[in-house]
Symmetry: C2
Subunit: 278 residues, 2 copies
């Protein structure tokens, strides 16, 4: 079984991005990373994103607002970041605290600065198969892994478990645009195992520890684990139960070190693209 290592995919993305950045002759693409409150997950992702962007030769500025900021004040602050000509791209951590309508930044964000594809303008582009939109970074990370390992989804049966707007739905459309035959599964799917066993490429993006096991996988399947969960021992783990997977799958992404590790590299790639397009 081939281990689909995120680090190798990130290295390829780094080479692509740094080549483009160095051709920009002095302009350093700059991201705004916007956080409300101090959620540990956000802090950890923020550190990784800042580090990744810097290691790709670009700049990231952190904008932090207190948990109890009013919607009105957040709107004013977010508008200033959105309109700041020095900022090429924006990553906003979500969910936002309940006093702020999540639709507000989705509608406000300049689609050209929308690094994580939260704007309806970008999601409509992904839905329609247009090439000039930003997809959510995690969904695109899966596509980058397939590309880096030369696994072409065209003509393949791909089963995606999960229908979120962060992974399942946009990833299904990216795969469809790459000419895969896509089946979207979810909590209401009957006989999930039978559906999984139709897959040439099986994507687990349900956010449930160990929901895919070796019995769901036929010999030769490529298994992509998008889950990032913490098990009962406090250990990071995916949606795929690893026992026995190596004996059936032809390739699989580990957790950690798989999809999650590519997400920040895609974020950096999007920043570079956003700056290049301006």
């Amino acid at each position: 079984m081939i281990l689909l290592k995120g680090a190798e995919v990130s290295s390829k993305l780094k080479a692509e991005v740094t080549a483009v950045v160095s051709a920009m002759e002095g302009h350093i693409p700059t991201a705004a990373i916007v956080r409300v409150g101090e959620r540990p997950d956000d802090l950890s992702y923020e550190r990784n994103a800042m580090k990744k962007i810097a290691s790709f030769g670009m700049e990231a500025r952190s904008f932090v607002f207190p948990e109890h900021i009013s919607e009105e004040e957040f709107e004013r602050e977010f508008r200033a970041i959105n309109e700041n000509p020095e900022i090429d791209g924006i990553l906003l951590f979500r969910p936002l605290p309940s006093q702020i309508d999540s639709r507000l930044p989705e509608r406000m964000i300049d689609p050209r600065k929308d690094l994580d594809g939260i704007s309806p303008i970008n999601s409509a582009k992904i839905f329609a198969g247009e090439k000039d939109g930003f997809a959510p970074c995690t969904a695109e990370a899966v596509m980058e892994i397939l590309k880096a390992y030369e696994i072409d989804p065209a003509g393949k049966r791909v089963v995606v478990i999960g229908r979120s707007m962060v992974v399942g739905r946009p990833l299904s459309m990216l795969l469809l645009n790459a000419n895969a035959t896509v089946t979207i599964c979810h909590t209401r799917t009957k006989d999930l195992r039978a559906v999984c066993r139709e897959a040439d490429i099986l994507v687990a993006a349900a956010g449930k520890v160990g929901m895919v096991t070796a019995e769901d996988v036929l010999p030769g399947t490529v298994v992509i684990d998008v889950g990032i969960n913490v098990d009962e021992n406090g250990k990071l783990c995916g949606d795929v139960k690893w026992d026995g997977i190596e004996d059936v799958a032809s390739a699989a992404t580990p957790v950690p070190g798989g999809v999650g590790s590519v997400t920040t590299a895609v974020l950096a790639k999007h920043l570079c693209m956003a700056a290049a397009r301006r």
Copy 2:
């Protein structure tokens, strides 16, 4: 086999819509039907749409522009219609002639007046599973047929052949939002027959005469034919070759008299909704 007749679905929609319209106390929902040029298909659909809207107790005004109208002039005219407070909803025939960028009206149209779901704001809502957007009428016509005949897609395997933004993609999302397990097929799908035979509900929306035959259908399948084609004898026909379908399918939509006949009723329903929301 149950014949899923469009006329019965339209009657139900008419009853729903006229009840809402009569409660509006004097305001008559008014549609603008916007056509550029004189394509026979458009003329025929326009006649049907005007008739349907009138028969549902509402009003439709036709706006016709010459085939060679400049983009600039079209933009000015379309803006006036879009901003006209007497107009509750707009149907624009497409494709537009090549001198007009098709993105222009998609971006301009007020999403609240967008009866056929061409705005990216509406397609993003359909993609995300939000309830307050307008889907393309043909896609929603399929959902109305399933609803009228009490065929609940929840937990069912649904196979959609076709990935257009008018039917395949939005319909897949409407079905997903109704908790179906959805597989999207297209020209690059391998062994289409095997995939079709997984379906509890099979939707043919490829625009290809006779591409689905009785051999693609397992006993008990519900067959929905979205195709509107003209065969070599000049006769209207769908994507489904009818011979033998009656012996296997549990239910099927005819062509003509199936999905196509419900589309204008959905258009009228959208007009009523658009007026009610204002």
